[in-house]
């Protein structure tokens, strides 16, 4: 899309009925690094790619625990994501305190969507520049939702957001029909494989991704590096000789990262 005379304010409609500022906010989500979610009848897995600003820094946290039964993965402006995660935690704990019962995910997601909608209808605000994959459990089973800066939300069997997420979506589209009946282990494996698709060539290592699980009888938690590596090892062999090749690859990956990398030319520092 190109600059036009209707895109300065979020409260200005275009003649074709579009709110360009909202659409630009959705672009910000596409610039962030990938986040993936998938669910079966009883479990939800959220995974993300660990991107660091530079070799010197640690990577940004993109997956947050909202409650024992709800987790969220974000892509886009991480600061906006952090603020919204705090809101979700607050709503969840307030509900738990009053009713001693977990907040149904569907209701949390609607509140989040309503909050995002407000920012699309006030001249003194701007839309949140972050997409949220909310995974959670309630009375009716496991759920995965995607909350958009526009204030829309959708329920998914599996979804991917962020840069190069199309590759992951293609992978998930081939497999999603079986997810409902998947075992917990298969679901995790599919999540990591989907992450691999977004890396496009880079060797998949456990240090490159974060994986979290929640399910019936299993509160939200992150998988440790060892467990992730074990799953990776089942489908990707990294023999000793490749260490040199691996290092060279890492250097090659680091250099483009400084320049911005393919497709990441315009990544602003605040987006991850």
């Amino acid at each position: 899309m190109f600059r036009n005379q209707y895109d300065t304010d979020v409260t200005t409609w275009s003649p074709t009925g579009r709110l360009f500022q909202v659409e630009y906010a959705m672009e910000a989500v596409k610039q962030g690094s990938a986040a993936i979610g998938l669910r079966s009848r009883s479990h939800v897995v959220l995974a993300s790619v660990n991107k660091a600003q530079s070799e010197l820094s640690s990577h940004q946290r993109k997956i947050f625990k909202v409650d024992d039964h709800i987790g969220v993965a974000i892509a886009g402006l991480t600061a906006d994501g952090r603020v919204l995660s705090r809101y979700m935690r607050s709503e969840s704990i307030n509900h738990s305190f009053t009713y001693e019962s977990p907040l149904p995910v569907g209701r949390l997601v609607v509140r989040l969507a309503d909050k995002a909608q407000v920012c699309t209808q006030r001249s003194w605000k701007r839309p949140y520049g972050v997409g949220l994959l909310v995974g959670g459990l309630d009375e009716s089973g496991a759920h995965l939702y995607y909350n958009c800066p526009s204030g829309n939300y959708f329920e998914y069997q599996a979804f991917a957001i962020g840069s190069r997420s199309q590759a992951a979506k293609t992978y998930l589209e081939r497999r999603f029909k079986s997810f409902n009946e998947s075992s917990r282990e298969d679901l995790i494996k599919d999540a990591i494989l989907a992450i691999r698709e977004t890396l496009q060539g880079e060797t998949l290592k456990s240090s490159l991704c974060t994986v979290s699980v929640l399910g019936v009888d299993e509160p939200f938690h992150f998988l440790d590096q060892e467990s992730i590596q074990k799953v990776i090892d089942t489908f990707e062999k990294v023999p000793e000789e490749e260490e040199d090749g691996g290092e060279a690859e890492a250097e090659a990956a680091a250099a483009p990262a400084e320049q911005g990398g393919a497709g990441d030319q315009d990544v602003a520092p605040m987006e991850m």
Binding site: F97, T98, E100, S101, P104, G106, R107, S140
Partner: protein, 245 residues
């Protein structure tokens, strides 16, 4: 026609005139509620009396009401406060239904909500003058709990309020079992209610028993218990009293 304009007397604790705007004593009160868990759910018994001090003024007050699909609420204490609580719960259940999303408030959630309400009112020195009994069944699990006017809240297999605490609970402690059938449960409750009828001055002989199971709520029609007054000691009651004390 005179209209009253609401007066704001400020802090209900510090200002003497503000006393007229917070609960100091109850006026129309209901007496005990007795409730037990049984095989299929929960049974709750209450009489239909509303006392105005020592006058048995109202004889057709329903003190047990259904809340949503899964709960029963019984109240003793100030009747107007009970009606206020029913209005709060009405709003709660309405909002819950409006979500229309397959989730519904169970007895545990209602009990905890009421605990929060009662405790917060107590903290403002403006209590809802009730002891509430909340029973229900959801997803096959029975629930029975109680909240007092100062926010004391707990769950148990059998509960009683007011005089029931002193007269009914000892009976329940001896005779309650987890696998009571409906008939045995009703017999047990009637035993408790009969003792209360004999010994509680604010009790009347017109009671209702409400049942809640997975299928839903049933509140019985009002009925009376058979009583026996022909004890030997009641004949010629002054026979033993010689002289003054």
């Amino acid at each position: 026609m005179t209209f009253t304009i609401p007066i704001d007397n400020g802090d209900a604790l510090k200002n003497a005139e503000a006393d007229s705007q917070r609960t100091l004593y109850p006026y129309v009160t209901g007496t005990s509620i007795v409730a037990i868990k049984y095989k299929d759910g929960v049974l709750m018994a209450s009489d239909m009396g509303g006392s105005y001090g020592s006058t048995l003024r109202y004889k057709n007050i329903e003190r047990v009401k259904a809340i949503g699909k899964h709960s029963l609420l019984g109240a003793s204490g100030e009747i107007s406060d009970f009606q206020e609580i029913l209005r709060y719960l009405d709003e709660l259940v309405l909002n819950d239904n409006m979500w229309d999303d397959g989730n519904s408030l169970g007895p545990k959630e209602v009990h905890n909500y009421l605990t929060r309400v009662m405790y917060n009112r107590r903290n403002k020195f403006n209590p809802l003058w009730n002891t509430l009994v909340l029973g229900g069944v959801k997803n096959g699990e029975s629930y029975l709990g109680m909240v007092s006017m100062i926010g004391v809240s707990f769950e148990d297999n059998h509960v009683a309020t007011g005089f029931g605490n002193h007269l009914a609970r000892p009976i329940l402690r001896d005779e309650w079992r987890a696998d009571l059938s409906f008939e045995d449960g009703v017999k047990l409750l009637e035993k408790c209610m009969r003792v209360l009828l004999y010994r509680d001055r604010s009790a009347i002989n017109k009671l209702q028993i409400a049942k809640i199971t997975e299928e839903g709520v049933t509140v019985s029609q009002p009925y009376s218990l058979k009583t026996f007054w022909e004890f030997q000691a009641f004949h010629n009651p002054t026979a033993g009293a010689q002289g003054s004390w």
